[in-house]
Structure formats: structure tokens, C-alpha cells
Subunit: 412 residues, 2 copies
Amino acid sequence: MRQSTLFGKTKRENPRDEESQNAILLIRAGFIDKLGAGIYSFLPLGLLVLRKIENIVREEIKAIGGQEILMPALHPKENWEKTNRWAHFDALFKLKGYGEKDYALGATHEEIVSPLATKFVFSYKDLPFYLFQIQTKFRNEPRAKSGLLRCREFLMKDLYSFHTDNADLDNYYEKVIIAYKNIFKKCGLEKNTYLTLASGGSFSKYSHEFQTISQAGEDTIYICQKCHLAINKEIKEENPFCPQCQGKDFKETSAIEVGNIFKLGTKYSAPFDLKYKDEKGEEKTVIMGCYGLGPTRLIGAVAEIFHDDRGLIWPENIAPFKYHLLVLGENEKIQKEADKFYEKMIALGQKVLYDDRKISIGEKFADADLIGLPYRLVISEKTLQQKSLEIKKRHEQKTELIKLNRAINKLK
Amino acid sequence: MRQSTLFGKTKRENPRDEESQNAILLIRAGFIDKLGAGIYSFLPLGLLVLRKIENIVREEIKAIGGQEILMPALHPKENWEKTNRWAHFDALFKLKGYGEKDYALGATHEEIVSPLATKFVFSYKDLPFYLFQIQTKFRNEPRAKSGLLRCREFLMKDLYSFHTDNADLDNYYEKVIIAYKNIFKKCGLEKNTYLTLASGGSFSKYSHEFQTISQAGEDTIYICQKCHLAINKEIKEENPFCPQCQGKDFKETSAIEVGNIFKLGTKYSAPFDLKYKDEKGEEKTVIMGCYGLGPTRLIGAVAEIFHDDRGLIWPENIAPFKYHLLVLGENEKIQKEADKFYEKMIALGQKVLYDDRKISIGEKFADADLIGLPYRLVISEKTLQQKSLEIKKRHEQKTELIKLNRAINKLK
């Protein structure tokens, strides 16, 4: 894309109403815009990142049998009353519609997916199955000062699994752990993200959170210095010893909860009478699991971790474009060469942001660093004298010249 | 996809709480599920259709320069007060958040996109540009009895254009008309859809609606029998003569409004002080246009128009799968041949729903008609005796045998 036509200019100044590093960088670089506390628009660059993360998530969840659906955000009050969460779910937005009808704005979808399943589950032969959606959630957060890490409106991938028995749920739960690890790896967060023990509610001893270590994180986790197990605050407070090796030396650190997985048992199937007939014709309640992951929060986590004082540094898999091509100098011949090279790259299906703007060299370099695409390509009078372009990785200092006639093949 | 694993079984009975043909058919065929009046979930088959329509819309809007963004659904009250629509917009859902903050649920996005644009528009050099999103809208509809034709929660493509002057807006407006025509053509609605004159508000004499003729439509349009111009009820009531040829013989018909386009002028730029400096350095107010199109409503319109008494009949471009492969008979050899054929099709990237279920032949045929994929392929003992499969188009009666060893090539 030609940067001269891109909507969402970079800003030299930090926004005045943001404290969090991720929001400051993403706003300055033109990825997002703030509408209100915890409420952001995604501009073209930001939406490209979001779609890439969505596709990574979709691919991995489909690979473990997930079928994609799309459930509504407007939830009838009755559904939330059945599980006793109308009164007790923190941060549920509530509103009235025509005829004084009460709705909740979907903060999660157990109250919708369970009654949906009742319409299609009759026999053990209908189980197991796995439904997921990538959908907008709403939470009436009292504090929303962490940019994309805690929003009042955000995107979530929520997956729900339905089983005849606990063994089948346990088996699928392990598959989800692997899928989540693949997702975080593809998003560049592999090294920083810990599978963390959390309490399991009434049905299971433990659930798990995926916690990405970051000073910006609102959670605290404890890493056992003996066996490297991570546990969350609740678990730590219940038991001063490591649940795995009984060690008592922990490293405390801030972390961002980027995912959580939970064995629900019959907690949300029982209230909706979600039952099946087993092989003997006996009625039994369906066993469920739920698995959350926030694509918008993930962008915030990536921005917190991958940046320097000049701007963002996108992992290649989720960068809005792979290459940032800069043409330096207003000489018509240079422009023409750069145009030609850009058109060739595009014709080959390469993802290139082309800075064709009539602005100073310094501004172009500053913007390239701020936006943070993986590879910066420069075509200038100097590089053309050697029939070359200059290539530099965003997170490295060294530059390299590549002959123009070889560059197309080399950059594949 | 193997139908034995597909979530969303077909239903033999009509749902009891639906009056509209589109909802009845789409629910029975397993495309959607009703959560409440005007609120539906999209099941796997329905979501596949929705994504295809979204991609058609995206492609056409990008082709006329649209840049995709994603704006929030939670709108601060202040934005809607600036345009005086907090009090006067029909069907605006309102709610309170933490700290007694008032929000509207986005019913349209002029109140969001205009202040967003102020952050990036300074000079005439920043214009024109075109922003669109495919996003969930909410409207507190008093009547929501027409299935996907009038929802309280629905998907909308909303495009906004920003110009220095009216001539530029007029020029872009004509481009949008062509893009919309392309979209409706690709969705199979070309013949039934009329570009219809509607009133233009204070800024322009006319706006336009795209109206698809259907008995299920909630609108009424009038087609001039002399020049074939279509006009809506408002225009007809203002003037008994055709605005184009002065004819007075009209055909009255029900229609579904599948799109509308509007020259806004400065109606939403002025309240937000959306200005630019022209070439002389003078401040001027930006001229805007807005262009709506509802992908979920489009599904409803297609279902209303393309069905018979046995079920849906999807236009090929937006069908969830192109082929419905049925294996008939439980003989292991037949099953094996069908499996083999299915695997080959999938390996070639073909979109096939494979009815591998152990149910009666009658049920399989009935489901194929109800779901309504463009081509039904049958492999049975009878077809295998001739080393063939049987192919039939959903909307035709005649069947044809194709030799299995040629079918893969022929079905490309």
C-alpha cells in the first residue's frame, strides 16, 4: 500500500490521556484511536494486525475440531438469571429495550451456547463437539487505563467443548493447551508466556491461565524456582508450597493474562437442562469446557513486549506488512525506480507499505521505526549508484545492500 | 466437510415462533438459531454464507478505494448529543456504565467516524478518503418479526467518504452505485434489485435506496411503467409524476431495502468541526457521503427470493459449499468409493459437504433440498454399476450421470 493514501497518520506527540505504553505506541503509530476509556477504533494498520491474529487463532482452533459460529451480543436477561449471574457477574452491562425488555451485553457466552446446544444434542452420538466464535465482548470495567489490556469493548475468541464424560473433556483440554501454545508461538510470545495454574472452581481442582510476563501486566504470578511451574495469586495464597514439587522459593512477577481455559463440568449445562441419552438410554448431563483468548489484548501484550524507544517491533507473523519500502529524495529518477520496484513486489503478492510521501528523510526513518515493520527497504540516490537497495531488520542495527535485480528473488 | 460432524442439524418442523419465510427456512436448514426477537446466532453453515457476502462486499468497496477499519459499538452520549440525535434517533439503545456514564449502542457511525477524521484531516491534501467497516449494529426495533430482514442486532457494511467539494462527492457517489450493483449481481440479486430514488434530506435533492422486490419486503416502491425508474413512498407522496419522464403510471410493489446511499454534505462534519485548509489557506468544512449495506439482511433477502417448497436454493457465489455429495446405501464398498471421491475433491480444494450419515435415503434427499447447495452429487449402488455418480442442479429437475474417473476434472 502507498503510505501517501493510508488513513492514520503517525503522531509526533504522545496522546495526553493515555498512561499505558501499548496505547501510547499504537496510537502514535496510527494503529488505533481512542474513543473513550477502554474503547478503541482499529485503523487500517491495526485492523491488519488484528485479522492476522484472528486467522492464526482460527487456524489452530479449527485444527482441533472447532466449528466457527457467531452468537449475538444482546442477551436476554432470562438466560443470565438461570445461572444466577444476572445479579453476580461483575462488570455486566445491562440495558432495556422495547417493551421494557432487559438485556445484558455479552461479557461471555456460556449463557447462550448452552441453551443453543440443547436444540441439537439428544444422544451420546451427538457428542463431542466444539464451537467457537471470534466476537465482540463488553465489560463494564471500573478501571480501564491499560490500553488494549483491559477494554470495555474487546474482541474475544471463545471456544466451548461438549462431552459425555470427564475423560473426554480431559483429553480435549490437553489438545487446547497445545493449540494455545501454537498460537502464542506464532504471535511471538512463546518465550514470555507461562501456562499458569489457577483455581478450578467447584468442578475441577485447577484451571489454567496463559500469562505473558510484562511489567504492564495487571496480574501477579509466581514461578517456582525449583521446577519452574507458574501459579497465580489465588493458588499462592491457598498454599505456600509449589503444588508440583513442594518447593517454596518463588519468583514474583507481573503478567498479562492472554488466555484462560477452564473445565466447567455441568456448571452451565445443568441450569439449561443440556442432557443426552447414553448407550443404555439413560439421561445424563453434558460435560463442558470453556477456553478464552483475546486477540485485541494480544495486540496490547505484543506492543508492551516488542518495542524500543523509537517505536514498535512487530513479530513477522502478525506485522501489518512485512516490508516498509522508503524512497528517499525527490529526484524523479529515484522515484521512478522505487515505483517500479514497488509495483514488482506487489505483482508478486508481497506485503509492502511504500512510503512515497513528499516528506523529509528524517521523518520517513522516524515513522518506519515507530510503525515497526520487520524489514525496512531504502531506495535512494546513494543505493541506486550501486544499483541496489538497502535492507535493515527493525530490531537490528546493521544494514545491507542488495542489488536491485536480485532483490525481488531474495526478498521472497 | 463431513455432515456427520457438522453442528446444526436440520429440523423437520417449522419453528413455532417465526412468521417470516426466511427465518423459517434458515432455522430449519440449520443456518441460524433464534435467541430472541430480532436476535439470531449464525451456525456454521450460516456463517459460511455471511463470510462469503462479507468478502464480496469487501472486495468491491476496496476496489473503489475503501480502507477498512473497525469502530466500536459502545458510543459515548456526548457524540450523539453533538448531532442532536441522542434525543431524536429512533431505536437507539441506551445504557449506563461505571460512574453513571451514558452510552449508546452504535446504530450507525457518523457520530464516531466524523470526530475520528478530525484527528487526521488538516489540509486539502488529506482529502478525499473513504473508510468502511463490516461491523455489528444495534437498533431497538419495536417490531422484529421479519427474520433477518429487521434485526435488533445485525451486521452492516458502512462506508463513509470525505471530500473537499460536492463535485468530488458526486463523482464518488456514482462509483459506489456501480460497486453496489456489482455486489448485488454477485449475490444473485441483480434482476430483482432496483436503484430507487429516495428523498435527500436538507443537503441533496435525492438519495438512493437499493430495493429488492419481494412480497416479504417491509417497504413499498413504485416503478414508472414508462421509463422504469423506481421511486420510494416518500417521493411518490410528494409528487404524483415520475421525476424522470413525468409519467404517472406506476406499478406498486413490496421490496426489501438492501442498501442505501446518501450525500450528507456537512450535516455530520459541521457539528464535529471537521475542517480542512484549502489551497489558499482558507478553512472549509469537509463534505461527506455515507453508504450502508447489510450482509445479514442480504441473507434474508436471498432466502426469501431463492427457495421452493422443499427448501433453499443458494446462488453459487454465496453458497456455503458448492457441492453436496450424498452416499446412498450402507454397503461398505459404496461407502469406500464415496469416501475416496470426497477425499479427492477436498485435496483439490473443492468445497464439498459430504453427507456420510447413517440415515435413510429419503432423509438425505430431503436435507439436500432443504439446505439447497447448488449441485447435488449422488454415489449409490446404481450409479456405481455404471462407474458413475449422478449430478443434479438444485433448481433443475434433470439428473445426469458422470463417469467417476472423469468427474474430478469435470467438476472443477
